[in-house]
Symmetry: C2
Subunit: 465 residues, 2 copies
C-alpha cells in the first residue's frame, strides 16, 4: 500500500462501497480488514463517511473491532461530534481506556467536549497528579496558547552530557509529543535554554548540554491568542515552541501540526466575518452539522443592521423623488452605480484586511495606503467612466447630459469607495476592532449612501433639475 495518497480519493470510494456491502451482509470482520489497509488518518476519514452515510451502530461495531492502539489514533483524528457519537455508543470502560491512551493535548480536546458527569467519571480513575494537570489545562481559555499546548516534552539538565541526554531520551522519550526539541530547565522550572535532537545527534557524546543549548530561544506566553501563536510559527519556522507563564516557567510546548489547524480556522473565521457571517457558537463544526436555526442566527445580525442603513438610503431617494419622476431614466443607472461602489470598495477592503492579518500592511501605513487607493480609484474610475459614456450615448441612445451625469458620478463613487474601503479596516484596527468583522458591512452601507447622494448631486448640477 505504498503511495496511498496518490489516489486516495479513488481508492477510498471503492473501499467504501466494499465496506458498505460487507456491513450489509454483516461481515464485520472482513469490513474491518478492508479498512485496516489504510493509514490511521485515512481510516478516520472513512469513518466520517460511514457515520454520515449509514447508521451510527454499524460504524461503532466496526470501530470496536479495530486493534486497540489503532482505535485510539483513529479516534484522535475524528472531528469532535463524531467522537461524541462513538462515545455515546461504547461503554464507559472503553471510553476511559481510549481517553487515557490519547496524547495529552488530544485528551484535553476530547474532555472539553464531553458532558461534565462523564468527565468526572473519567477523572475519578485518573492518578491524582495527572488529574490536577488536566484540570489546569481544562481551565485555559479557548483560543489561547494554553489550549493548544501539551505537557509531554523532554526536559534536560544543563550539566548532562550529550551521551547522557540521548540515554535519557531513549528511556523516557516514548511518551513525548516531540523529541525534536528538548528543553533545559533550572531548579525552579524556569526555562534556560533549548537544544534540538539534531544537535544532540551530530554533537560529540562528551559535550555538555549547557555548551550547546540555545539561550536565545523564542517562547510563547500561555495566554497569547492562538492567532499570534500561528504568526510566530510562520515567522520562525520552528517545529515546536515552548510555552511559559508570567514568571518564565515552562508549562508546555506547542507543536507545528496543531498550528496548521489554527491557521485554517483563523482564515475561515476571517472569510466568514468578511461576508457578514458571525459564528456565535464559536464552534469548529462542519457546515452541514450546523443547524438551520444556528445558520440563521449567525447570518441575521448583519442583514438586520444593514436594513437600518437601507432606511437611510431609501430616505435619500425619497427626497429626490421629484427629480426621479422628471427624469425616470436615471433610475436605470442606480443599480450600476451603487453596485460598482460596493464592489470596488470591498476589493480594497479585502486587500487591506488580509494585508493586516498577514502583517503586510500596518496601521502606520495609513497615508501610503490611502494615496495608493486614491490613484487606483482614479484610474479604475476613469476607465469605467469612458466605457459607460460610450455605452450610454450609443447603446442606450441617451443624451450627452445623462451620460455625463452617470460618468462623473461613477468616477467620484469609485474614488470615494476605494478610499473608504481602505480606510475603514485601518481605522478598525487602530480602534482594536477586528477589521474582518466590521469593514465590509460598514463599507457597503456607507458606499450606498454616498453613491446615491453623489449621483443625485451630479444630476441636479449637470441636468439642472
Amino acid at each position: 500500500m505504498n503511495q496511498v495518497e496518490f489516489d486516495f480519493d479513488v481508492m477510498a470510494e471503492k473501499s467504501l462501497e466494499k465496506i458498505y456491502e460487507l456491513l450489509e451482509e454483516k461481515k464485520y470482520f472482513l469490513a474491518r480488514d478492508e479498512i485496516l489497509k489504510y493509514n490511521e488518518a485515512d481510516i478516520a476519514e472513512l469513518f466520517e463517511d460511514i457515520l454520515m452515510d449509514r447508521d451510527a451502530g454499524d460504524a461503532v461495531i466496526l470501530f470496536r473491532l479495530l486493534p486497540k492502539d489503532v482505535a485510539v489514533v483513529v479516534f484522535s483524528y475524528l472531528p469532535s461530534d463524531d467522537q461524541l457519537t462513538i462515545i455515546d455508543c461504547i461503554t464507559d470502560k472503553e471510553t476511559t481506556y481510549i481517553i487515557n491512551e490519547l496524547d495529552f493535548d488530544d485528551k484535553i480536546d476530547v474532555l472539553e467536549e464531553l458532558p461534565a458527569n462523564l468527565v468526572d467519571k473519567i477523572l475519578e480513575k485518573t492518578p491524582k497528579n495527572e488529574r490536577k494537570l488536566i484540570n489546569t489545562f481544562l481551565n485555559y481559555p479557548d483560543n489561547c496558547a494554553g489550549s493548544l499546548m501539551t505537557p509531554d516534552y523532554i526536559s534536560l539538565q544543563k550539566n548532562m552530557t550529550v551521551g547522557e541526554a540521548l540515554e535519557y531520551i531513549k528511556e523516557y522519550g516514548i511518551d513525548a509529543e516531540t523529541l525534536y526539541t528538548c528543553y533545559v530547565k533550572d531548579q525552579g522550572r524556569k526555562l534556560i535554554g533549548i537544544v534540538s535532537l539534531s544537535t544532540l545527534v551530530v554533537e560529540n557524546n562528551d559535550t555538555r548540554i549547557m555548551d550547546i543549548m540555545h539561550e536565545d530561544y523564542v517562547s510563547i506566553n500561555v495566554y497569547d491568542d492562538q492567532e499570534e501563536v500561528a504568526d510566530d510559527f510562520k515567522k520562525y519556522g520552528f517545529i515546536a515552541m515552548p510555552v511559559v507563564d508570567k514568571e518564565g516557567r515552562i508549562v508546555g510546548i506547542i507543536t507545528v501540526d496543531d498550528v496548521l489547524d489554527v491557521m485554517e480556522e483563523e482564515a475561515t473565521e476571517d472569510m466568514e466575518r468578511m461576508a457578514g457571517v458571525i459564528d456565535f457558537e464559536n464552534s469548529d463544526k462542519d457546515y452541514l452539522d450546523i443547524s438551520v436555526w444556528q445558520h440563521t442566527l449567525n447570518r441575521l445580525p448583519w442583514l438586520v443592521i444593514l436594513m437600518l442603513s437601507y432606511i437611510i438610503t431609501g430616505g435619500i431617494i425619497n427626497k429626490f423623488e421629484g427629480m426621479l419622476s422628471d427624469v425616470i431614466c436615471l433610475v436605470a443607472y442606480m443599480p450600476m452605480l451603487m453596485g460598482t461602489g460596493g464592489n470596488t470598495g470591498s476589493q480594497a477592503a479585502t486587500l487591506i484586511i488580509r494585508g493586516l492579518a498577514t502583517d503586510e500592511v500596518e496601521p502606520a501605513d495609513f497615508f501610503k495606503v490611502i494615496w495608493k487607493e486614491f490613484r487606483v480609484g482614479l484610474l479604475i474610475g476613469l476607465i469605467l467612466s469612458v466605457l459607460n459614456f460610450a455605452r450610454i450615448c450609443w447603446w442606450d441612445g441617451q443624451g450627452v447630459a445623462i451620460a455625463m451625469t452617470v460618468c462623473v458620478a461613477m468616477l467620484a463613487i469609485v474614488v470615494i469607495a476605494k478610499m473608504l474601503g481602505s480606510m475603514i479596516p485601518l481605522l478598525a484596527k487602530l480602534c482594536k476592532i477586528d477589521p474582518a468583522l466590521v469593514a465590509n458591512p460598514a463599507i457597503s452601507s456607507i458606499s450606498d449612501m454616498v453613491s446615491c447622494i453623489t449621483y443625485f448631486a451630479m444630476a441636479s448640477l449637470i441636468l439642472g433639475i
Copy 2:
C-alpha cells in the same frame, strides 16, 4: 534576551529608533551590535522596516557588517524584493557566496527571481552535479510540489543497523533540511520506507533499519498542486513528506515550515478572488509593493464584466419605467432589495466556497446543501419581511399594498439568493472551475437581475399596475 517574542513589537520599535539614530551618525558598527541582539527571523523583519523607511544604501552597509553566517540566514528570511534590492547593491562575489550558502530550497527560490544573466554567472561557479540539480528544480512549475521541495534529506540503507544509521547521520546530517525523518531507498532510488529520528534514538543500536522502517508511508507526487500538499500535511500531521516521481523514485522532501507559507498564500488568494481581485502577476508581493497600474489591472476585469450585467439590469428597469413613474415610491426600496439579495447570496457562497476548500463540503452534498439553504433562506426571509412590513407601514407611512409588495419580494429574493449562493460554487467545483474565482461576481449579477424581476412582478401582481 530571553522571551524576545513576548514583547518583540515594543522592543523592535525602540531598537529601530536607536538604529536610525546610529545610522544618522554613521555609527554603523554600533547599529550592527544593536540589531545582532535579535534572532535571525527578527533581524530580517527589522531589515524590512529599514529598507522601507530609509535609503537602501544604509540597509546594505548594515547587512554587509553582519557576520557571514548570520547574513545568509537573514537573507533567506527576507521577502524576494528586498533580496533583490540587496543583491543589486552588493558585489557578484558576495551574491555568489550568499546564494551558495543558502539551503537548497531557499537557493531555488532566490534564483527564480534573479535576472537570467546573473543566474548564469552564479551557476558557472557551481559544481556540475549541483548545477544539473538546480536546473531540474528551476524547471518545476510554480505552485507544484516540485517547487516546494529540497533534495537535502537523509537517506539510509535497509541493511544498516540503528547504530550505523546514527553514525551516518552524525557525519552527513549537518546539511540536511531535516534529520527527523530519514528515507530508505533501494538500488534504483525507489523509496521503500521511512524511519523517524525519534525511532532511531529510542531503538536498540543493533536493530536493523529494515525491521523498524514504515513501509506504509504517504508520499506526494512531484507535480501535485501546492494546495493538495498543504491538505496532506494538515490531514496527516507530518513534519516532512517525501516527494516521488511517476516511477516512485524519491526526488526530494517537503518540510512543514514551507507548508505554513503555502496555506497563508492559498487563503489570501481565495479571499482576494472572492472579492473579485485576480492576481495576474501571480506574485507574492506585499500590497504596498504592487504598483498602482498592477493593482488596477488586478481589479478591473470583474468590474468590467459586472458592467455588462448592469446593462441587463438597467434594461429590465427600463422596461418597467412606466410602472415606476406611476408609483415612484417603489424606487426607494430597490437598493434594499437588491442589496439584501447580494449580501445574503454572498453569505451562502462564502460558507460553501470555504467548505469546499477545507473539504467540509463536497459536490456530492449538492442536495443536502440546497435544502439547508432553502430553509435558512425561508427563515431569514420571513424575519426580514416582518421587520420591513412594520417599518414600511408605520415608519414610512405607506399603504399595506406597497408593504406587501416589498415584503413578498424580499422573501422570494432571500430564498432565491441563498439557493443561488450555494449552488453556484458547487456547480463551479463540478465544472473544475475555482469556486472562489467565479462565485461572488456571478451571484451578485444574477441576484441583481432576479431581484429586479421579482420586485416588479410582485408590484404588477399586488398593485395591479
